[in-house]
Symmetry: C2
Subunit: 125 residues, 2 copies
């Protein structure tokens, strides 16, 4: 029962140290059907769409690495709920995007079935 | 350990059937120090500020009742994480505000220490 939580926490660790690592982890854990939503901003299905979204994000902001600070995380069945701060750094290690948010992950073993992040979209990045 | 989750689910039930019931439940469960945030929109401390916020909301939208649909809820320690749809109805029972969101509650027995809801603020109400 604790596997889903462990997999989500491992996923966050895999985002480091470079953006390429984050994308590789997403490719490993997404299936062609994985639905990833930044609620109000984006909804992608599968890794290719997710990568295109991340590429657009990286064009808008010169992010080189992602870091997750987990404030709270809890599991119910195969669903993991989190409150986090996601920080993104540039090549000099400076934090250029910091988003406090909550996100929910529906897991199937090591794979992500769906992932929805909720945050203050009006604030922008 | 399951008390926090049970108290949060009971809190949602207490919102019905009228706005007065919701406010009475908030008054019962808030202390003078309860911090309630709609992240990016509002931050209140204690019941009086929370009621002032709700009164402002009710002036903006003629809400008469609140209803919570819980999609997922999980507990870790005294912290409860939720994904929900909060619906608010007018006096004719028509749904006039519907917000899909995630929220986190830090509980102390029946009391709410802190409550933060995250949602697509750019969408508006």
């Amino acid at each position: 029962m604790a596997q889903a939580l462990a997999e989500v926490l491992a996923f966050f660790e895999e985002w480091k140290p470079t953006l390429a690592d984050m994308l590789a982890s997403m490719e490993k854990r997404f299936t062609d059907q994985t639905v990833w939503e930044n609620v109000g901003i984006s909804r992608t299905v599968g890794f290719a769409e997710a990568k295109a979204f991340m590429d657009g994000f990286a064009q808008m902001k010169p992010i080189e690495s992602g870091e997750v600070i987990v404030h709270h995380a809890a599991q119910v069945g195969n669903v993991v709920l989190t409150e986090r701060t996601d920080n993104f750094h540039d090549k000099d290690g400076q934090c250029i995007v910091s988003i406090k948010l909550m996100g929910v992950f529906e897991m199937d073993g090591t794979k992500i079935i769906s992932w929805r992040d909720y945050f203050d979209t009006a604030k922008g990045f």
